[in-house]
Structure formats: C-alpha cells, structure tokens
Amino acid sequence: MILENFVASFFLIALGLYCMATKKNLIKILIGMGLCDYGANLLIVSVGFNPGGTAPIFTISELSRDSFFVDPVPQALTLTSIVIGACTTAMVLGLVIRIKAKYGTLDSTKIRKLRG
C-alpha cells in the first residue's frame, strides 16, 4: 500500500511537469501546477506513514497498550501546505481572469506577442 502511494505521488509530479511544459492553455498550466502540489503533499504524507499505526491523537478510549502512532510532523506540514496551495492557486486564477480580459485569449504564445 505504501509503495503505491509513493509511485502515485511521483507519477502526479511528472504529470504536472508534463502539463506545465507542453500545454499552451493557461488553465491547463494551472492544472499542472495543482497536480505537482498534490503529488508533493501525497509524498510528504506517505513518508510519515507507518503500517499498523493509528492517528496521532490521545483519544484514550480507542487506544490500547499495543497501539502506536504514525509520524505527526509530516501531517502538520501537509496541513498548512494544502491551505497555502489553495490560496496561491486562487491568486493565479485571478491573474488568468485579468489576462483573459486584457488579451482576449488564454494561449500563452499569443499573450507574449506585442500589441500595438
């Protein structure tokens, strides 16, 4: 189960890089950025996973003597990373809306050209 998580995270990152490198549409580039973000999050969470472990919360009624925790630090890092990733994605979407209003197109090759 843990191997699939790692492979899927690297696959997501590679897919996001492919999207960002080849696609001309700004929305598709943004989707590629989002895919990279989610892949990195999945990778960080998977690093802290421990087979058989429970969530790192001292709810003592559900814990027994032989239960143990997974790593809490990567989870705390991912938590803030998700919110900030969502905010930066929203900011880039705002930029895309402005670009569409100004240039009338989402094609990144046409946006580069001078308009006189």
């Binding site: 843990i2 191997l3 790692f6 492979v7 995270s9 690297f10 696959f11 990152i13 590679a14 890089l17 492919y18 490198a21 080849t22 690093v47 802290g48 996973f49 421990n50 087979p51 058989g52 472990g53 969530a55 790192p56 919360i57 001292f58 709810t59 003592i60 814990l63 027994s64 003597r65 239960s67 143990f68 925790f69 997974v70 790593d71 809490p72 630090v73 990567p74 989870q75 705390a76 938590l79 803030t80 998700i82 919110v83 900030i84 969502a86 905010c87 930066t88 929203a90 900011m91 979407l93 705002g94 930029l95 809306i97 402005r98």
Partner: protein, 319 residues
C-alpha cells in the same frame, strides 16, 4: 513539424521519463526502508496516564520527542494540532502571513479597473451595489403572448436555508475542538468558508453582496493575525518564550492552554480569508444565478412594460 521542435519534444519526453524512473526507483527504495518514526516501542497509554515520569532519554528523532512530551508540555490530545500551534507556533505565524499576502494579491488583481465606484465597493459599501439582472426569456415555440419567466432555484434556496447554520456550526465545531479531536483552525476555517458557495448557488451574486462584506472580512483577517501575535507576545511578557503557553492547566480532566486562542485566531483568519477569496472570484465571474424577490417584481414590471411597448411598435408596424 521541423527538426528543431521534434528534438525539443524528444528532449522533453526523455527528461520526464528520467524524472519518472528516478522517482519510481526512489519510491521503491523508500517504501522498503524503515519508517521515519517508529512509534511501536512507545507505550501510548502509559504516556497518557503519567506524562511527567515517562523516560524521554532514548528518543529517536524529533517526532518521538514531540509525541512523548505532548502530554507533559501541552494540553492538547491531538498531536498534529500541538505540532502546528505549540511546537511550531512561530512557523504557523509565517504561514498565515503567506495567506494574507495571497489574499491581498488576489484582491489587488481582481479589483475592477477604471470604475471607481466598483473599486470602492470592495472596501466600503459592497452591499449597496446592485447590477441590472438578466431576465431569462422562456418565450419559445408557438406561444408569443409576451410572458417572461424568471429562473429561480427554489430547491437550492430552501436547501441552503436549512443547511447554512449546520455548515457554520460544523465548521466552528472543527475549529474549537481542534485540540481534542481531529481538526483545527485550518480545516474548520475552510469548511465554514464553504457557506459562500452555498449562498451564491442559492441566492446569486445579489444575495452574496447583501450577505457578505469582503472589505470587512479582509480587515478582520488582519485583526485575527494581530490577535495571534498578541497571544504569542503574552508569553514573552510572562517571562517565557514567544508563543509559550502562559496559561497552562492540565490535570487529567480539565485541559486548557493559551495556544487554543491561537488556534481560534487562525480558524477565523482562514475562514475570513477563503470567504474573501471566493467572493472576489465570484464577483469576477459576474454571472447572476438567482435573485431576491423585490428585484424580481421590479424587473417583471419593467419586462412587462417593455413587452407592451414592443407589441405597440409591432402593431404600428403592421398598420
């Protein structure tokens, strides 16, 4: 396709394949290696019952120290929460500043240019700006009596009226119980910010402008940030470190600490920030899906008047 672009494409695919192969090989090695934190030797129940006497001398790694000292130095049961607000309180401050920066940037980008009234509406009186509605015309087919109907999402509106308080209560339950159960400021804030979309789907842009005030939300977000810094500085004035718990009670049944105030500040901060962000995006879309009743009646009258005028002109043309 000429030669240059083909070579570039091959380069791209080769580099992507190299990244993917290295990643998968590294993933296989990482999955085979030992976990970063091996908690199986830690007696969790003994840690909960007697935190002060637990031996932390043979701890391996920072996660082990955090888990073992969680019950001794913090009043939280949720270790992820205590990492975010107790052990890494200073970093969380910086992360919420990133949030402020991203939202301020979005507001600056999406502010309407040239139109000063709407630019001020972001800050001062967003509730009063009402744009003329689009009237959805269902005069299709053979019927040409001149009747216009307005699309109104009745099911959405009644569902939203029922669900709105529950959504807010659930979101703030997640925020306020972050120390004791899964959750915390970041998650609960995002959940309670979902009400913006609910209001938009049910009552449209007009209802959104009447309900929320993006300028107030943005400034109160800054106030929440200042509150966070004040709670952190109170630890300094109490003679301890920044973000130290100046209130700390943990006697088994009753648990209280000052980092919970920081959690609440971050919860409000995220809630207001995401609300503000969603409102800005929806204002930029500028599509009104529903409308309130008062405007509808006015528009219906106007539409009827215009239809009458049209019919009159047609008749004149016929004559």
């Amino acid at each position: 396709m000429n030669r240059k672009t083909r070579i570039r494409k091959i380069e791209l695919f080769v580099s992507l394949a190299v990244i993917l192969i290295i990643g998968v090989v590294g993933a296989a090695r990482m999955a085979g290696s030992a976990p970063t934190y091996d908690g199986s030797r830690t007696d969790v129940v003994g840690l909960y019952e007697n935190p002060a006497n637990y031996d932390t001398a043979d701890a391996d790694g920072v996660s082990d120290i955090i888990v073992k000292e969680n019950n001794q130095y913090t009043a939280a049961l949720n270790t992820v929460y205590s990492v975010t607000f107790n052990f890494r309180g200073y970093d969380t401050l910086g992360e919420s500043f990133i949030l402020v920066g991203a939202i301020a940037g979005t507001m600056a980008i999406l502010r309407k240019k040239g139109n000063k009234a709407s630019a001020q509406a972001v800050g001062t009186d967003a509730g009063t700006v009402v744009k003329p509605m689009k009237v959805v015309d269902y005069r299709g087919g053979a019927k040409k009596k001149g009747k216009t109907y307005r699309q109104k999402p009745v099911i959405m509106q009644s569902c939203a009226n029922i669900l709105l308080p529950f959504t807010l209560v659930y979101g703030w339950y997640i925020v306020l119980h972050g120390a004791m159960s899964p959750g915390g400021g970041f998650q609960g804030g995002v959940i309670s910010a979902g009400i913006v979309l609910l209001v938009y789907l049910a009552f449209g842009l007009t209802g959104l402008r009447k309900t929320f005030h993006p300028g107030f939300l943005h400034s109160s977000e800054t106030i929440a940030e200042i509150f966070y810094i004040c709670v952190g500085l109170a630890g300094v004035f109490a003679g301890m470190n920044f973000c130290f718990n100046f209130v700390f009670i943990n006697n088994g049944t009753f648990r209280e600490e000052s980092a919970m105030l920081m959690n609440d500040a971050v919860g409000y901060h995220v809630c207001a920030g995401i609300c503000c962000l969603l409102i800005m995006m929806l204002e930029a879309l500028d599509i009104d899906m529903g409308a309130s009743d008062e405007e509808e009646s006015g528009i219906a009258k106007k539409a009827a008047l215009s239809v009458n005028a049209q019919e009159l002109t047609y008749r004149e043309a016929d004559i």
